[in-house]
Symmetry: C2
Subunit: 189 residues, 2 copies
């Protein structure tokens, strides 16, 4: 039950059409909550029916025409309620780890290539995050030290914390994949 809240957050940051939301779910928001355009359109319909958002009026034909949404007071209230509420961390579901465990039983053919591929992808994502950090948070020192300085808004601190989570996770994967490839036999089984 998080997609509607992801959409509400995105629309509060900036009223958008379905396609614009889709683009943002491929970038900033998508870094921690992914969604396809089909999911987004379906959910926009539900949110509108539920009275949490509304489509800005348009004239002329509807199909194929851009349709902008913004958040109604009821939507903001729902998001506030959800944000304050707690939730346990989701159980992990990581196919790569499952593959390793399966390889421990049926053999490791092709495994190193797969690890190498993941390593490249995570390195690229990490570089991407670092570039965003350099661009959007140039003043901060990245390690969470800047509580003294006067001008940093709450929102920025939070957005930076989210980005640091992304950087930390990608850094972990890069390190783990590098280590794991080093301990694996050359091209076995």
């Amino acid at each position: 039950m998080s997609l509607p809240h992801a959409i509400l957050t995105a629309l509060l940051e900036k009223p958008s059409s379905g396609l614009e939301l889709t683009r943002r779910f491929d970038r900033s928001i998508g870094f921690f909550w992914s969604a396809t355009h089909q999911q987004i359109y379906r959910e926009l319909g539900r949110l509108e029916t539920a009275g949490l958002i509304r489509a800005l009026p348009q004239d002329g034909p509807v199909r194929g025409q851009k349709k902008e949404y913004d958040v109604l007071p009821a939507g903001r209230a729902e998001l506030e309620r959800w944000t304050a509420r707690g939730d346990d961390p989701k159980a992990v579901r990581e196919p790569l780890l499952l593959r390793l465990r399966a390889a421990a039983v049926v053999g490791t053919a092709g495994l190193d290539a797969e690890l190498a591929r993941h390593l490249a992808l995570h390195r690229a994502q990490l570089a991407d995050y670092r570039e965003i950090e350099r661009r959007d948070f140039p003043a901060a020192d990245g390690a969470g030290g800047d509580r003294s300085g006067g001008g940093v808004a709450d929102g920025d601190r939070l957005r930076h914390a989210v980005l640091r989570a992304g950087i930390g996770l990608e850094t972990f994967w890069v390190e783990w994949l590098t280590e794991t490839r080093a301990t694996l036999p050359a091209e076995p089984s």
Copy 2:
């Protein structure tokens, strides 16, 4: 499409009944692939219909009686095929990060308590993993250095790599949560 392969792996490690599998999905396997008993029974039915596993014959009543499964050659072949095949890393879906982003828009009430709660959970999980490592991999030095020593089997190395992934991820969360709480304003908004 990973649950059937998780089950095949588990059954190859040791033939089991549905409930035994459920228990293992709450422990070792569940650390990287979670599943409820309803999912497991449904999938066992499908795998049996597909001819990948079979139920060991039993006499007398069926309902309420333990039913053991093991893997047929076709199931092992399917798992080998899947293991060798590649898959892109799953997109991240982490409600806690979404909450932070939402809090950046609607206010941070209750957020620190939620972070504290997650911190405690991740610390507990980390301690759990470390205990398992101490018990199951006492010889290894944890940092991936032992390529020289003679007796370590492939399977053990892979299982240890999986466990190190769990430890690394939990360590990351503990650090990130600690840092993030330190940078957040005391009890705001």
